[in-house]
Amino acid sequence: MSVALPVDAQQSSSLWGDAWWRLRRNRAALAGLIFLSVIVVVALLTPLLAPYAYEEQRLALGASGPSAAHWLGTDVLGRDMLTRIMYGGRVSLLVGFVATAVALLIGVLYGAVAGYVGGRVDAVMMRFVDILYALPFMIFIILLLVIFGQSMLLLFIAIGAVEWLTMARIVRGQVQNIRRQEFVEAAVSMGLGPWTIIRRHVIPNTLGPVIVYTTLTIPSVMLLEAFLSFLGLGVQPPQSSWGLLISYGVETMEEFPWLLVYPGLALTLTLFALNFLGDGLRDALDPQSASGRGGS
């Protein structure tokens, strides 16, 4: 233990240091990272930063275009669009992060166990994933939401239940490689139990691809949420999300195009940033692109 630890720490710090260095040179990814940080901070501090209260209406004002008082205009009920988009963003990001976390948790555990145990257990576990893969999940999510009503919890579970499959496959593939390496053998020979090895030695070494895939899962989850909200099956009023704001915007776009354009812009830019960051992280962390530096 006392021998293994420093070596481990040194290796990982150089790997992450390297990755960070490469990420910083990728301007698109860095811009994405900065943009996302701003969005997340704004979402966290929305109650303090929002120029108006969420419920505040000015019916007399009605839908008005962008002005000094309302930077992004107001909607048909005279509600400030910037405030609505900020609060909607909280919900969209929350769904994106929480549902991804659900997928992450299930996928990593499942994939790590399947890959580490191997043999027949692995075959059965991955066969199950294959079968689930073939199911038309989008239709099932819609079915679930229609039948059991539209709740946020169900939305998290339903989306998380779809997205963990790919994560499990990626982690399993990684773990299969890691399992054969010396440090795992060393851990086994030191008498550590399989669960400890998975937790302490295997999972930390899959982090690179997992982080990359997580970054790319968040935008697809946010898209899914927006899609469901657009159909009226996702987030329900009085809560709001970017998808819901877009669907309201579509109804009145001929007279009040800004009600469609601004929430759309918020969603698109955020997804753009997430995807650029994900691509950048992949280039920075991908073992394939790093293989030139002698990782046998």
Binding site: I139, I147, A226, G232, M253, T268, L271
Partner: protein
């Protein structure tokens, strides 16, 4: 052939799971199909329940449904008396199939061109411009792109009709573009990556060494490799196109299957939901199968492994 047969066999349990899950999920729903609109006398409900066999046990209903299904009969619609689910599915199918086909053409046509353009001159303007547009296409969902296209080309410029399907000339352009755009973007990225990988292979170097013209190298040797990931992607893309058709058909008011499905979901039209879900599932599973088989057939390495009998 053994490969195709084994894939077909694998598809059967998947379909059974889908059908059974759908059946019991729908049965578990609170609120029957007749509970919604207005107060109906108990006798009428009883009569309706008898007529649609809702008074029998769930297992009897399940058995009856499966028997009907085996004959290709999805049963009557609960919401529209006198019409069968089959009629409604096949009524909506032509528009949806046509829309899906055009969207696929848009996706493959534009996507491949952009991807090859970018992949042939990596890290130049010819690469960055289409790839940035492709990224935009991925980040802009159909339910945003569609309305924006309607707003610009339909309402402001008045170049194209904003709704309908086959009623006015040109009314199929915007829906097809809307549905296909995101997949064009994915295909562009996939074919670019595929081309880049192939171009670094030894046999391309050999072809170059032989002095073949660049366009011949690409069209004869590299294209097939670049197409592989695209073909593997077509299966999942088909499922996505179906889901996309819900939105696009709603936006453009196209009388297709996707719109029926969304309506049936809101109406709690049990048999219609089940029928369309099962229909979609079968279509998706079959399409996945097709793209799998096609990908295997096109990949010489996999084909060889199969011939030796070591593949699955």
């Amino acid at each position: 052939m053994r490969f195709i047969a084994s894939r077909l066999l694998q598809a059967i349990p998947v379909l059974l799971v889908v059908i059974t899950a759908t059946f019991f999920l729908v049965r578990a729903a609170p609120g029957g199909p007749f509970s919604a609109d207005r107060a109906v006398s108990p006798q009428v409900i009883k009569a309706l329940n008898e007529r649609y066999q809702l008074d029998q046990s769930v297992w009897q209903q399940y058995a009856a449904y499966m028997t009907d299904l085996a004959r290709g009969d999805f049963g009557p619609s609960y919401k529209y008396p006198g019409r069968s689910v089959n009629e409604m599915i096949f009524g909506g199918l032509p528009a949806t199939a046509e829309l899906g086909l055009y969207a696929l053409l848009v996706a493959v046509g534009i996507g491949l061109c952009a991807g090859l353009l970018a992949g042939l001159r990596p890290n130049t303007g010819q690469d960055y411009v289409p790839m940035t547009i492709a990224m935009l296409g991925i980040c802009m969902p159909a339910f945003l792109l569609g309305p924006l296209l309607v707003l610009v080309f339909g309402m402001r410029l008045e170049w194209l009709p904003i709704s309908g399907w086959g009623d006015l000339p040109g009314d199929k352009v915007l829906p097809s573009l809307t549905l296909g755009a995101a997949y064009a973007a994915y295909i562009a990225r996939l074919s670019r990556a595929g081309l880049l990988e192939v171009m670094s292979q030894d046999y391309i170097r050999t072809a170059r060494a032989k002095g073949l013209a660049e366009w011949r190298i690409v069209s004869r040797h590299a294209l097939r490799g670049a197409l592989m990931p695209v073909i593997a992607f077509l299966g999942p893309a088909f499922a996505g196109l179906l889901a996309g058709s819900f939105v696009v058909e709603t936006i453009f008011q196209i009388p297709g299957l996707g719109r029926f499905y969304v309506q049936a979901a809101f109406n709690r039209d049990y048999t219609m939901i089940m029928g369309t879900t099962i229909f979609f599932s079968v279509a998706i599973v079959l399409f996945n199968l097709l793209s799998d088989i096609l990908a295997t057939w096109l990949n010489p390495r996999l084909r060889l492994a199969l011939r030796k009998g070591s593949g699955t």
